[in-house]
Symmetry: C2
Subunit: 245 residues, 2 copies
């Protein structure tokens, strides 16, 4: 097993950072590590807005559900799906712009996630900790306003980066038998495996420092899917130029 | 700079593989490396269908645009966004199922991409090569049929994995100044930087073994966005339970 595999398997989100800053040359190298990830059709449909301005950080922390580490992390970035940069050249080359199909949305969103995840791995390899901030989608229109994101660009998630000031446990994942299937999708054995996993997760919350809500995996995720989650997203995205044609 | 940063920056897609198989214990470790990636709201909304069946591989290679390495790679997997696994428990706990919002689609799609990218990095760290196959979305309904993907599950992309039998050059990426912005989105200087980058990309195609189409970045990506790309995706996804509410 490689040390990289060890590194990846040791991932946990960090929500408390020291005030140590990140060396600028290293930071640029992390960005380049992210950029080197695969990109669909060579689109490179990602833009990072690095947020250093304290007021903007504070606003984003608030709208994300009072996640204070958005303010305190050495770096906070908003990862955006960007079809504008490429789309500009449709006009330039006198071609129609049709980049508002569902497929284009998928390509750009996947591009952003691949890039971010490679940047995350690079960061963790030098002792940094990270936390993704999906909470920016609580009020994506305000994020657009704060960061002046134009049509064709949407904020997918935020990312906190800094030197960890905590050492949380790794959170156990679903058994491989549940998440990987052979040749066809089937759920044979999943029910039983998930029941056992639910117990493991309850135990994880019971024993770790600081406790937690104590809900099992199936309780947490079914709760997520029983809610009209961020119902503003569709209209927000349409206004931003992502029309799901 | 860490060796992991070197590894990430050296990524290039591999489209020609030796016939060496992947040790099963290693393969499981790669999957676990992927699973360890962050997951939004703890959803773990990804399912891998590992395709070993030769006929299925051949069908998928064909529908993906005759990408023969789908057949010849040691491993080929289809990465699926999966809201069914969690959604099952809405019924179990007598809660409504509302998991067909745009937001749920984003969460699950990002989950899949983060997981895949960590698995890719793990694979590359032990000398394996990879190629993402977005071409499965040419005919996602047929992929669903072949792999028996139920409602609530959609195939995001395929992934080829194997020992490289080629050594292509790393493809240069856009300058950091173009893809990373400070506090606000702006395009100052981008036009000039992209013009220079376009020359670099033309040169890359001109000089590399095997040549290539020779188009610049802006030509390639504007062409992508001037097309009604995979216009079936919206209806396909709706039928599969992803309604973009």
């Amino acid at each position: 097993m490689s040390s990289v595999i060890d590194l990846l398997k040791a991932h946990r989100s960090i929500r408390k950072f020291t005030d140590q800053s990140i060396d600028p040359a290293l930071f640029e190298d992390l960005v380049k590590s992210g950029q080197a990830a695969a990109t669909s059709s060579f689109l490179q449909g990602s833009t990072i807005v690095r947020v250093s301005d304290k007021e903007k950080r504070s606003e984003i922390a608030k709208l994300s559900g009072n996640q204070t580490y958005v303010e305190t992390a050495a770096e906070f970035m908003v990862f955006c799906a960007d079809l504008k940069r490429a789309g500009n050249y449709c006009a330039e080359y006198e071609m129609p712009f049709e980049g508002d199909f569902t497929e284009h949305f998928i390509i750009a969103t996947v591009d952003v996630a691949l890039m971010a995840q490679s940047m995350v791995t690079a960061a963790e390899s030098v002792g940094l900790g990270i936390c993704y901030i999906g909470g920016i989608r609580n009020n994506p229109a305000l994020v657009c306003e704060l960061l002046e994101l134009p049509r064709g660009v949407y904020p997918v998630f935020g990312l906190c980066l800094g030197y960890p000031d905590q050492n949380p446990e790794v959170k156990p994942r679903l058994p491989v038998s549940v998440i990987m299937k052979q040749d066809v999708y089937n759920e044979d054995g999943d029910r039983q495996a998930i029941t056992e996993y639910d117990s493991l997760i309850r135990e994880y919350y019971r024993t770790r420092t600081g406790g937690g809500h104590g809900a099992s995996w199936s309780e947490q995720v079914s709760s997520l899917l029983s809610e009209k989650s961020r119902p503003h997203m569709k209209d927000f995205l349409a206004a931003q130029g992502f029309k799901f044609r």
